[in-house]
């Protein structure tokens, strides 16, 4: 019992000491950062509205597809292409949210893997017997395949018009549009159903908690799809030689910058907690980092640093033309400069932010000690 007393006394001394040590700057009680609030804002103000918008665009695309094939005219082809672009742009706002049903169905792989595989598409057309659910058909569907059919399958718009009206092509085209719609409906239905609460109530801090998972998804999209896929790979950063053929939207060619911009602005808005409609600002990674910054009397404002680096991305982007493929061929240094600015934010995101927010890395739920 004597020892128990001694330990208690020691502990009290320790506590008293530590409070004195830090008391001047840190109030004894501070407000918690509420991960639940942040998750609700993400779900209700960003993710679900973004999916709604994407889903509406796809439905419009579907409608334009029906009208085109039931009564084809050149102006309806133009409307069809416009609807494709609108949906493709909206996709950029949801691509990073590969969580829940989207993760389960691996929606990104079925929606936007490029370069598309022309031989595979032709095989599918020829056989008429294809299963778009199979992973082997990742590269024969989604926006890149539609990009090919709508813009690159023939040499002129007239020829493309005629080509699309061939029975096998039109039915393949319709299957691709239906596939995008069914994938998206499944994800949106899930968010509108139980998943929203599953997501917002999983407020813990572990590899399987919502915050940790979504931050990993956010980083993965930034690093792999935005930085590498849209810019780095075509600019030859990972192969040593320029690969203009590997840009996103290769066949329509002039939309690659727009697609990138949409993806990038979605990243920035998500980080700063800007609602999908742009009207509201809410709980975000930026605020979370600010809270940690104050809590730990930090010397380094991580959120500010990231936003500054992204401002430089905007600057570099202004030097790049609409057609990334053309830019790579004409003056790749501008593309490399854009890549460098995107890259500069990565160490801050991955080393500083992940540590400050104590985000567990993806897929690893193994033990520590």
């Amino acid at each position: 019992m004597n020892n128990l007393l001694r330990i208690c006394v020691l502990l009290i001394i320790v506590i008293a000491f530590s409070c004195n040590d830090n008391g001047s700057n840190n109030p004894m009680f501070t407000d918690n950062f509420d991960r639940g609030n942040m998750l609700e804002f993400w779900a209700d103000e960003i993710i679900i509205p973004a999916y709604n918008s994407y889903s509406n665009s796809l439905q419009d695309f579907s409608q334009k597809t029906d009208t085109f094939f039931s009564d084809p005219t050149p102006s309806k082809l133009q409307a069809l292409r416009d609807a494709w672009l609108a949906a493709y742009l909206d996709w950029q706002s949801v691509s990073m949210f590969e969580i829940g049903k989207a993760e389960e169905t691996s929606i990104r792989n079925f929606t936007n893997i490029y370069p598309t595989d022309i031989d595979l598409i032709n095989n599918n057309l020829l056989s008429g017997n294809f299963n778009l659910v199979l992973p082997s058909n990742f590269t024969a569907q989604g926006f890149p395949a539609l990009d090919y059919l709508l813009f690159g399958s023939q040499n002129s718009d007239e020829e493309i018009f005629d080509y699309l009206l061939q029975d096998d092509v039109s039915s393949y085209f319709i299957s691709l549009v239906d596939r995008l719609n069914s994938l998206t409906t499944a994800v949106l239905d899930d968010w509108n159903g139980d998943y929203r609460n599953t997501f917002t109530s999983n407020i813990g801090s572990s590899a399987t908690a919502s915050t940790d998972k979504l931050v990993n998804d956010f980083l993965f999209f930034y690093e792999r799809f935005l930085r590498a896929g849209k810019v780095g790979i075509p600019a030859g950063v990972f192969s040593g030689s320029e690969e203009p053929g590997l840009v996103e939207g290769k066949y329509s060619s002039v939309y690659s910058k727009q697609l990138f911009e949409k993806g990038f602005s979605s990243i920035v808005s998500f980080f700063n907690g800007i609602s999908f409609d742009g009207q509201a600002q809410g709980s975000s990674l930026n605020q979370y980092l600010d809270w940690v910054f104050q809590e730990s009397n930090g010397a380094f404002d991580i959120a500010q640093d990231i936003n500054e680096k992204w401002a430089n991305v905007e600057l570099a982007l202004s030097n790049v033309g609409d057609n990334f493929g053309q830019q790579v061929m004409d003056d790749n240094s501008k593309m490399l400069a854009l890549y460098d600015e995107l890259q500069r934010a990565v160490p801050t995101l991955k080393a500083d932010m992940l540590q400050a927010l104590n985000i567990q890395i993806d897929f690893v739920d193994a033990d520590g000690d």
């Binding site: 502990l11 530590s18 040593g240 160490p347 080393a351 104590n358 033990d367």
Partner: protein
């Protein structure tokens, strides 16, 4: 002196504590193996990765593909045999070898408590843990003993004491004691945990846990040794390890330490446990209490004692090797592993590899996710020996692809215990010119502290 030693070596003690230790150790290891398999970790950590990180000197240890499952079966079965004490010596040797082999397959998964398991298994090879309340002793009444030499039990106590005291001493560093780091990083976002959660972002709680943890590690062995504080000490053991269990994903470690601390309890305590197990199994415990003392043959005893002296000298000295290297230990991690430095730091890092043709100066970057799992990437980026081994792997890979005159450089940033990230490895050094060895790693840039 000699006489004192030989008197000590001749002292005997009840065999029950060691038997209980054997049973619980075997049981926990069996559960560990099943849990590892059930969680899909064999697949995720060993089968799926294309590449594995090796320990210095153990580069020959390879993941045997799908045979890895068999390895886990062998390991689990031998743990079961250890538990029931059937063919004990063979079982514990097989367990030690298979478990250690598994741990050597990829250092990405290094954990101090896996190392502890290997060490305890090695210790158990030398100890007569099967002469009491075991299938071996049940079948062979000549083997069945009630007493064993006392040093057998003391050696386990000594090992546990080394673990705790070294772990406690390692906590007496600036970050831990003065800044309550890294605990403040880990605890402040755990507010969703029931009851204690709301307190976990309070700075005084971080200090309480940091100082309390250090004090616990340094004192718990002494509290366990003294019979008057033992019950209190065991309550502290439970509190401490269950708390860490709630707060951190540390798997079986708390249970291992809780079980290990039982070795400090009295003979009668352990005999009661065995009696209870015996009555559950409807066997007579009395059969094992025959008054005989275990004596190994003189040669085996000499060898065992000799090996133990070497073993404990190693255990005492090896964790101190970090002192031989300059620089911040957490930053360089030279001599960090195998030294009971548990949960001392939060380090996150980013490593970007650049492959350069030294003649044409053509260059390109590597996408690490093409080669490593997320877990491996995380571990690789924070530890220089991983970086070197991976760079050599990349070098071979790109050479096989037909690239020539390869040099590999790294752009790396690491953040340690809340410090702003800074450059970790010298970006101007061709990593292919470096090898993993025990020499001081000058290519790690010094940590700029505040």
């Amino acid at each position: 002196m000699n006489r004192a030693i030989s008197t000590y070596l001749d002292k005997s003690s009840k065999a029950a504590p060691l038997a209980v230790f054997r049973i619980l150790f075997g049981l926990l290891m069996l559960i560990s193996m099943i849990r590892f398999w059930y969680n899909g970790w064999i697949e995720k950590l060993y089968i799926q990765p294309k590449f594995h990180f090796h320990y210095l000197g153990f580069e020959w240890v390879k993941v045997p593909g799908n045979w890895t499952y068999l390895l886990f079966i062998v390991c689990g079965l031998s743990a079961f045999f250890v538990m029931i004490g059937n063919k004990y010596r063979a079982a514990i040797v097989i367990f030690f070898l298979s478990f250690t082999y598994i741990e050597l397959m990829d250092k990405t998964t290094y954990l101090n408590h896996y190392y502890l398991v290997s060490i305890l298994a090695f210790l158990l090879i030398l100890l007569p843990a099967h002469v009491h309340f075991s299938v071996d002793a049940w079948k062979n009444s000549n083997l069945s003993k009630e007493y064993i030499p006392r040093w057998c039990i003391d050696s386990i106590k000594l090992m546990i004491a080394i673990v705790y005291i070294y772990a406690g001493a390692a906590k007496l560093n600036y970050d831990w004691m003065v800044d309550a780091l890294p605990l403040s990083i880990w605890l402040r976002d755990k507010v969703s945990i029931p009851i204690i959660g709301p307190f976990l972002d309070e700075s005084w709680v971080h200090y309480l846990f940091s100082w309390g943890g250090a004090l616990y590690d340094l004192s718990i062995v002494f509290l366990l040794l003294w019979s008057r504080t033992r019950v209190l000490a065991f309550m502290l053991v439970l509190l401490f390890h269950l708390l860490t269990k709630i707060l951190f994903p540390i798997g079986m470690f708390p249970y291992i330490m809780i079980v290990a601390s039982l070795i400090f309890f009295s003979n009668s305590f352990h005999e009661r446990i065995l009696q209870n197990i015996a009555s559950l199994l409807r066997v007579s415990y009395k059969k094992f209490c025959n008054g005989f003392t275990y004596h190994s043959d003189a040669l085996f005893k000499r060898i065992s004692i000799g090996v133990l002296v070497l073993f404990f000298s190693f255990q005492l000295l090896f964790p101190l090797r970090a002192q031989l290297y300059p620089g911040n230990l957490f930053w360089t991690e030279q001599g960090y592993r195998f030294s009971w430095r548990v949960m001392l730091m939060e380090k996150t890092a980013y490593a970007n590899f650049k492959v350069v043709d030294s003649l044409s100066q053509k260059r390109f970057y590597v996408q690490n996710e093409d080669f490593l799992t997320a877990f491996q990437q995380k571990q690789m980026a924070t530890q220089a020996d991983f970086i070197i081994e991976y760079a050599h792997y990349l070098g071979r890979h790109f050479e096989n692809q037909g690239h020539e005159n390869i040099q590999i450089f790294i752009e790396s940033f690491a953040s340690l215990n809340g410090r702003k990230s800074q450059v970790y490895i010298d970006p101007d050094v061709d990593l292919l010119t470096l090898d993993n060895n025990l020499k001081q790693r000058n290519y790690i840039l010094p940590l700029n502290d505040k």
